[in-house]
Symmetry: C2
Subunit: 289 residues, 2 copies
């Protein structure tokens, strides 16, 4: 861990590092590597204080759950609900909770269990093995995926968003969601529907006080963080819509980026790891310039 | 992710789960599996508001850095310093920073680089491969360790505490420390000295507002979280000393515990992972009953 003083100077003053930073790298994205995230795949949650959390949805992997989430947003269903659970090194959870259980008519109570599927669509593969799957990688559009050679699934990395559920056969409606705020709880993979990833504003969910109740549930209503609104970008006036881009991974430039994540460079790193687990190498997402 | 309502009832009311919880398991610790953490291996940091963070030190792995840390605590050197850096999904860092750079005379400016050593002392091994090392496991006294077959090292898991340093050959004095608050940054393994693990009070470091400056450094002094005191338990009056215990891992009961982490059970889990990376299976530490 660099000491900030030096780190800051390294980012600003140090001629050597400045040159390193300025030099073009085979890991640099080409302009066309940055692809727009469609408005109907972007969820905007506004919390008390106006803090906003932006979530990229994954309709390809969890179409029925994402369809529910879109209907809930369109019905303004989450407005007035809250963040009610924050468990350290695990998850932050929000939505209906015990305050609001009736769903809009169009929302399916228990969609199909969209936990895994047949076709693995990873196009990159980290250099070293994974502790949970035969193979992991990034889909062409940047989702972290894994396979055992038969089924494929999304992985529970930091910032991934999933659907809280009761015991099986419940699959969760999507009215209660959580995001990972600690070390990847990969044991949840294939047991729960992952529907997206927080692409900006994660700190408004990860830095909340931890709940004192069982499973990190806030013990007092006063601790709940009110959700002012949740909208799809498509519900916002065009000139108010945020625009994000994912970095395409099906190219040599991203492969080089992954290689650099796996082998960090001097002057700070003296021993390169030679690998990186999928959750320590999540594909970049950025605001559209 | 269980919905809290059901989860709470599961922890309290559900007869089925109640029976499961009550039934003795081969993964249960025997009374003698709980071993005392010595007073001179426990650091107590008190932050503004009286919030306390308890850190188990690892003198066996980083003797020179831990010797420095003991001298700094004995000199009350950290009193009046602050937590000045919180980078989301990475680290919280505290200590001298740019405010306080002169060390007590007995403290060595750059101890030997205690990043790895020759003897691997892991006594357990997760069922599946690791993404960073040939083998990982827990030492008999509960530290997460890894090896490539030649060298061995501690792993950067959530809550592990390391020594901030400048560029090599700096190894850091120990006056500036950090702890992991996100997904395990295993690329730091072997590049930096790990000296301990937060065993209680992690939320006082993980739930702090993220810093807006480069590398998560707080931009305004007003954001800094004052450190009121840092003491070794040996410096506290005997009747005020906190007492913690680690769970010994060199027994079949812990192996069964690890097996249960790797294969979570119904009714919630329908697909067991069949594995767990070392940072998703950290050995338990508890307050002495």
């Amino acid at each position: 861990m660099l000491k900030p003083l030096l780190a800051l100077s390294a980012l600003t003053a140090s001629p050597v590092l400045a040159q390193t930073a300025a030099a073009p790298s085979p890991a640099d994205a080409a302009p066309w590597d940055w692809q727009a995230i469609p408005d109907n795949q972007l969820l905007v949650m506004t919390l008390k204080g106006g803090h906003q959390v932006f979530i990229r949805l994954a309709p390809r992997y969890a179409p029925a759950h994402v369809a529910n989430i879109r209907k809930l947003a369109e019905a303004h269903w989450w407005d007035g609900t809250s963040v009610y659970r924050v468990q350290d090194n695990y998850v932050t959870q929000w939505g209906g909770g015990d305050d609001k259980t009736t769903l809009p008519p169009a929302v399916i109570q228990n969609p199909p269990a969209e936990y895994e599927w047949a076709r693995y669509d990873g196009v990159t593969t980290p250099a070293r093995p994974d502790s949970y799957a035969a193979k992991t990688g990034h889909s062409a559009d940047g989702w972290p995926v894994a396979t055992d050679g038969k089924a494929a699934w999304l992985t529970h990395c930091y910032g991934m968003v999933g659907v809280a559920r009761d015991l099986a056969p419940s699959t969760g409606s999507g009215a209660e969601l959580y995001t990972v705020i600690g070390h990847a709880p990969r044991h949840l993979d294939r047991n729960i529907a992952l529907v997206g990833r927080v692409v900006e504003g994660m700190q408004w969910l990860s830095a909340l006080p931890r709940g004192g109740g069982a499973l990190g549930v806030y013990e007092n209503k006063a601790e709940h963080v009110p959700i002012l609104s949740v909208r799809l970008a498509t519900q916002l006036p065009e000139d108010e819509r945020p625009h994000f881009q994912y970095r395409a991974t099906d190219n040599a430039r991203f492969a080089a980026w992954l290689g650099e994540r796996e082998n960090r460079k001097p002057p700070f790193f003296t021993v390169p790891a030679g690998g990186a687990d999928i959750c320590n190498a999540q594909a970049p997402v950025r605001r559209a310039p």
